[in-house]
Amino acid sequence: MNSINTHVAHPFRVIVNKEISDHVRSWRVIILIAIIALTCMGSMYTALGSIGKAVKTDEPEGAFFFLKLFTISDGSLPSFIVFISFLGPLLGISLGFDAINLEQNKGTLSRVVSQPIHRDYLINAKFVAALSVISVMFFALAILVMGLGLIIIGIPPTSEEFLRIVVFTLISILYVAFWLNLSIFLSVKFRQAATSALSAISIWLFFSIFFNMIINLIAKAFTPSAMASENQVIGFQNFILDLLRISPGQLFSEATTTLLMPSVRSLGPLTMEQIQGAIPSPLPLGQSLLLVWPQVTGLIAATIVCFALSYVAFMRMEIRSR
């Protein structure tokens, strides 16, 4: 028997380490990181160029000057959050679409599962490894943007701004984790890596392009008449918003916008009565978080559902040699 020493790494750690080093060394991830870093730097550049115009002293959120780095743009390039919401899914998909089927096709899967490890180590490790890579990358990116902003505009972020950026980064990671799990699930389901990549990308395209068009069509069909009561109009708008919120991208953009723009007070329609008497001041972080809690919960739920599906599918899969 092999001596089992306490200082020998646990097999789960061994797999995670291997997966992370594979990710870091792969051209795919290097290219993606380069693209994301470049676009983020680009969006920062445009943000810095227009930040002088964007800040007005009489605005209540003038206090949250630093957050503007992430949200404004001069129109030539999208802002930082738009980039993240666009490229994040691509990153998640590219880290997961061949997680299982590539190993199956290479014939390494049956070799690994015949080692004395629990089978779920493999899929858990794949998820943990990809998530670690994403987390490190996003935190590095956020801190890089903050640091550059600090050097160029010379105003340090307040602690609340810093916390908001940290929470924003966490939610971004969660959003990418959703796409990661979806693509891992597809990689368990489809034998060909190309099929799972294409299907993941088509789901992403559906949600980022066609979904809004379909919702617009539905909205047109159900638009209440000009004579409709206030309640009817609000009900209709809430209905359309709820439909939009099926898309994880919508949940993400609502959550991040609220966090990075403290002046956002509500994500649905407000009546005049509700606005009346409200002081036009930014919300504290706790209140902003409370406002987006349903969105965050929805994202977590979607991520867990995808993970559970891939877990069950993987555990039930019969692993034969290629």
Binding site: M1, N2, S3, I4, N5, V8, A9, H10, P11, V14, I15, K18, D22, R25, K106, G107, T108, S110, R111, V112, V113, S114, Q115, P116, I117, H118, E318, I319, R320, S321, R322
Partner: protein
């Protein structure tokens, strides 16, 4: 020697309506090389998967080293090395790195594993290729690296699923010699599945014939042929031609199968007489060649040649695999 190390009892596995493994009973003793011989799709791989606990049987039980594979797969996998058919490695890693990864998954200390990996690479003849990426390995090299990969965890049993398919004859011979050597030196039990009977005949102590999920017969080659051909163990091949003095035109008509049957009728123990490519095949239960030769010569026909044939694995194979298919 008579210590069972793998025990399969009434093992059954179904995929939908298709029964891949049907009520299989098999015992393999410690230290033997057992050959699982069967055509493609006979259920060999499925049986192996159940032994490794990689798939669950519908009924019956599998015990490997006294451990139930279905309920305790981890303990079984610690003791059993499994080389899947057409094994694959991480292409971007070198041979050594691939072995080290397997060693780490088995919780072997890195310094111990490194030494062992180099030793094993030397043993399987890949010492020079150890630092080459496995993506550049040939099929035969991959298979040999697979054997090293299986051995690095110091297994008690190694299960090889079609290990020789796709390797050239020289490679096959070396591979089989290596397995025999390993058994001798390390006292390993080897289970070897193949559809190639010559390799099984060459390497294995005992053979199990596997068709359509059923074990048709098991035993060493000799007892197998006795068991399967209990009635007609011998085939005598007789080449008959007309005597030198005879006329040309009667040959074809005179020496027919019917003629020979009639001629050999007085001899007891003849099971059948058939003709194939101008040669007569006489199946009989014991060695009757002397009597047959005598009868043919007395009839005045010219005996070109008379040879005795014993059943080899080839005949067992064709007879039973064809038989197995015809039952469908």
């Amino acid at each position: 020697m008579a210590e069972p190390i793998i025990e399969l009892v009434d093992l059954t596995k179904r995929y939908g309506t298709f029964t891949a493994v049907d009520q299989l009973n098999l015992t393999i003793q410690k230290g033997e090389i057992f050959g699982l011989l069967g055509p493609n799709g006979a259920g060999k791989s499925t049986t192996i998967l159940m032994m490794m606990g990689l798939t669950e049987p519908d009924s019956g039980s599998v015990k490997v080293c006294g451990i139930n594979s279905t309920s305790n797969p981890i303990d079984v996998k610690r003791k059993v090395g499994y080389l899947p058919e057409d094994v694959g490695f991480y292409d971007d890693y070198t041979g050594i790195e691939n072995l080290m990864y397997t060693a780490r998954l088995n919780r072997i200390d890195d310094s111990v594993a490194k030494q062992k990996a180099e030793q094993l690479l030397l043993r399987v003849g890949l010492a020079d290729a150890g630092n080459k990426k496995t993506g550049k390995y040939s099929r035969g090299m991959r298979q040999r690296l697979g054997l090293a990969d299986v051995l690095i965890k110091n297994p008690e049993i190694i299960i090889l699923d079609e290990p020789t398919s796709g390797i050239d004859p020289k490679g096959v011979r070396e591979f089989l010699e290596l397995i025999a050597q390993l058994r001798k030196e390390e006292g390993l039990t080897v289970l070897f599945s193949s559809h190639n009977l010559h390799q099984v005949q060459q390497a294995c102590d005992r053979v199990g014939l596997f068709v359509n999920g059923k074990l048709l017969a098991e035993g060493d080659i000799l007892s197998l042929s006795k068991k399967l051909f209990s009635d007609n163990l011998y085939v005598i091949e007789a080449g008959i031609e007309q005597p030198k003095t005879g006329t040309q035109d009667v040959v074809g008509e005179k020496y027919t199968t019917e003629w020979l049957i009639k001629l050999l009728e007085p001899i007891r123990g003849i099971a059948s007489v058939t003709q194939k490519n101008g040669v007569f095949l006489i199946e009989c239960s014991s060695d009757l060649s002397a009597l047959i030769a005598d009868a043919i010569l007395k009839s005045g026909a010219g005996l070109n040649h008379l040879s005795k044939k014993e059943y080899g694995l080839d005949d067992i194979y064709y007879r039973y695999f064809e038989g197995g298919q015809s039952h469908e």
